[in-house]
Assembly symmetry: D2
Homo-oligomer: 311 residues x 4
């Protein structure tokens, strides 16, 4: 079956479920999104783009941004990053602080909030937040070859006004000397990176290097080494869906990273990068219909990394 | 490069490290093993067997047995098993009881001790331990086509005499009605399954169905469905190394299950099943040199499930 | 006001609440108790006995027995006991196992179940449970000068049949070598001590030495030193009501120990020992009306240890 | 024995230990204190003042201030305070955040940092920090009849510069809507109250109302009701020494509140208020020699609230 037909079948599979789940409502900018939105894009390693539904409508990528800031941070400080953040599943919700107390201010992995705040802190390292955000934006634009991608200032402002739990995490890690810049600046970067606004096609393009041994397909240029791409994928698989990472691996079988905006970026190594968007969230804070769509896609394509191709 | 040469290279890679780590000493039968043992076997989906070092010397597979009992339990009661055990990484050591208290006696996954005890309990379901152990042994012998595999009675007895923490876990779950048979019987099954004695070649053969979409390669007969094989692999990846599962995924990139006897079973879907044995354990209770050997093998073969084949 | 009148006033205060709370139902022998029972006895340091309601009807003293076994254990092994059990409030429910994992099998205090099981284990120390129970019974009979007090065999049997969580605690501590006898024997002592059957008058008499600097009032003979009596009172105050100890201190202001049978023993140092019984329990597992009655008594007498006598 | 002689005996008892423990070093102003300082003052309910050692040298009272702000807050909003803060021992260190996550942002008691921050927040309630601090200072000056007491601005500034963990606690509770003012203002009050500078005589005078059924002895005027005084004493007993409260009750037997500056305020209801100061802290962050001195005093006076007067 061709990918376009296949996407249509996936769409049919999930149609009865569109609208399920609960739209994130902690900031007004997210709460007002239409829960019936659904989009999906698949970009193959050959660079072919396939899409369905609202795949060209921008949404707030939120925590999916953590994949890109991690990539940048590894590029800047290399494996030394792992002195400041672990790489184990946390077994706790995305914003838990309990683990930090027991483990001396070292977050379990770069995809829970505390870990991503440390990653943002390494990127900042003495610069102004504006410069660091410029760098993040440039990287995303380079990956996608699309200069229209921006940060939604209203969302960023809202995050900042309500991000007390993140402020608690940052201050807590500062008390363990695991934040090196002023808390406000580090959080400034973090809140803005979460407010990146992208559509499914852009997001799938941005993630393609992870499916392609670290290379951008359009040119063959490397974004990262093949080994680093594999390792980032491994982290997405074990930690990308917080305390539902095991379930996502079990059901979908692809490395993935979700955001409370309802987006998920998934990677089929050697095949494609996939982005899906549906705002309703399940109990663990991951897109409910988005997960279903990926489950259907993985089943129909045999792309699960845990199988031997088509059955 | 051919696999035999490749195994020789892996052997050369890890040679300087043989003997590192600490041999499990909680029971005499394990403590007396020579720490310098090292064996590795690779069985490809075509059925070819490659080996190096002490690959035909039997060792106690311990927690690796959990993969086979899980497979049997899913065969017997199907997905209903997930009402009694979760499928998320625990973020805690293999024998932690904390999580059970917070989550009403439901273990996080079938690979931590508490979860495996529940799995053993489902297999027992009213039978005598002897019958259940017979069934487990038959399954392993069927998978390997090797009737010489047995349970080491001395090891089993030692486990029973020192397994107080496991007795605590079982009684605790019983208090939440998540153990259905008399605790002694359920633990009897559990302690004996851990005492299964196998060598690397036998272990790799036994795991091959997981690399082969659920089919036994020798005949093409199916042990489980392709979907179930994928799901078991997913669980091995996210939960197979306790609170070092993330690190194993990061470094090796293959679904794997370790045992305190120093064995690890790893699966390269579509390619091969791999068994390695080296008794010295790292701080997380996983074979230190065994992990190194798998890391070297994955790098040299490009078998990581997170990459797109050879770089 | 005389104590008899005062008890009548207390009775009037709590009358509207008789029957509130939930009778413990985990064993049939406790579940069948009439929830409207209420008795109270005050024995002054002069030996005068005052009582009201069902004060001569026997009930299962349950965890109140921990006061007497602690006293015996301190008599036998002295302050060395504190190497095996702490003396801090636990901040967790009576049967929590979480704290044990974090603190290497050393229970926080002798009044949570785990701590009382260790205390029972020290009393057993190589003897048969029957002998140890004989010793406990002799001690209670000596304190009360009443040989009619017995252990309810039916209650003890029921406890044993349902005490899986206690079995988990004991096995868990055994894994840390903090249980020195066979688990069954230690639990045998523990389950039987909890099944001690006493009425309010007997219970108040048994506790009187704690109000009287360690001396039995009837003869002036010392049960324990004045310092030990003070210390046991301190432990009752900080730990005697599990995770509601702070609230009991706040409202009543007397050292006290509760049991799930609905009894509470409270000590007014230099004045009296008080026993109250009302089977309905509040959310923390302490007698609801019993606590009210003690609050009323403390207010009317000015016996709170936190005040300077009558206002 | 007269109190002056008695204090001399206490002094002799503890002399060999002067200098033990570790002076708090998290802010320079505390770190530079001479570890050999020792002072003690006893103010009886008759108003007699007895002292020994460095009893008129001012030190930073730190967390002892929580007793006075709690008293003020209860005066202002009454028992409604207990909706925002609990009254149970926490079983965890003074600055733990774990309990907050498990209990929805409600601190266990008003004497751990999180609880005291909530108390400060209730006192602030829309006012400026300066006004609230003025009120706290007025209250202390009123209790002591001593207008020379001040806040050490340098200490307050240092606290603010290093108080990241407290900032984490405040932000965390804000996320649960349990902080009602801007975090900086609430923390401003908290950091300054901790910087109150008092000597032992002043501190004992300030606490005397708690020994005297709520009345200031000099005039007989009431600071609080007798019931409230009792309740504050109860909280000091169960929660005043963090996770060593049980041990302090066991050894000393008096309600007490410690501070990392090395001070302890203890209350002997109906008898006296006692203040002791010795900067070296034990492992739980309480004055090591100060605790010894109170233990000696309680033993020599028979003032323990758990005994029946002199043995």
């Amino acid at each position: 079956m061709q990918l376009d037909e296949l996407l249509a079948s996936v769409h049919a599979d999930i149609e009865p479920f569109i609208g399920e789940g609960k739209v994130a409502n902690y900031i007004p900018a997210l709460a007002k999104i239409d829960p019936k939105k659904f989009g999906m894009a698949v970009v193959t390693v050959d660079g072919d783009v396939h899409m369905i539904g609202d795949a060209t409508e921008a949404f707030s990528i939120q925590s999916i941004s953590k994949v890109f800031t991690l990539t940048l941070a590894l590029g800047r400080i290399g494996e030394g990053l792992w002195k400041r953040v672990g790489r184990e599943p946390s077994g706790t919700p995305f914003n838990s602080i309990v683990q930090l107390e027991n483990e001396h201010g070292i977050p379990r992995n770069p995809f829970i909030n505390a870990g991503a705040i440390v990653v943002a802190d390494t990127l900042l390292s003495g610069h102004q937040p504006k410069e660091t955000l410029g760098e993040i934006l440039s990287f995303i634009r380079y990956l996608t070859d699309d200069d229209s991608i921006t940060i939604d200032a209203e969302v960023a402002r809202s995050e900042q006004l309500t991000g007390f739990r993140n402020a608690a995490l940052a201050n807590y890690m500062l008390a363990f000397s695991n934040i090196h810049n002023p808390v406000e600046k580090t959080l400034g970067v973090y809140f803005h990176q979460c407010a990146l606004s992208m559509n499914c096609v852009q997001l799938a393009k941005a993630g393609l290097f992870l499916a392609n041994n670290g290379r951008l397909s359009r040119s063959g240029h490397g974004a990262v080494s093949a080994e680093r791409a594999r390792r980032i994928n491994a982290l997405m698989l074990t930690c990308g869906h917080y305390d539902a990472s095991g379930d996502f691996a079990f059901r979908v079988g692809l490395p993935g990273k979700s955001g409370v905006g309802g987006g998920i970026l998934a990677i089929a190594p050697g095949k494609a990068a996939i982005a899906v968007w549906s705002p309703g969230l399940n109990a663990n804070g991951n897109s409910a219909t988005g997960t279903r769509a990926l489950e259907s896609l993985a089943k129909r394509t045999g792309w699960s990394i845990f199988g031997a191709g088509r059955n």
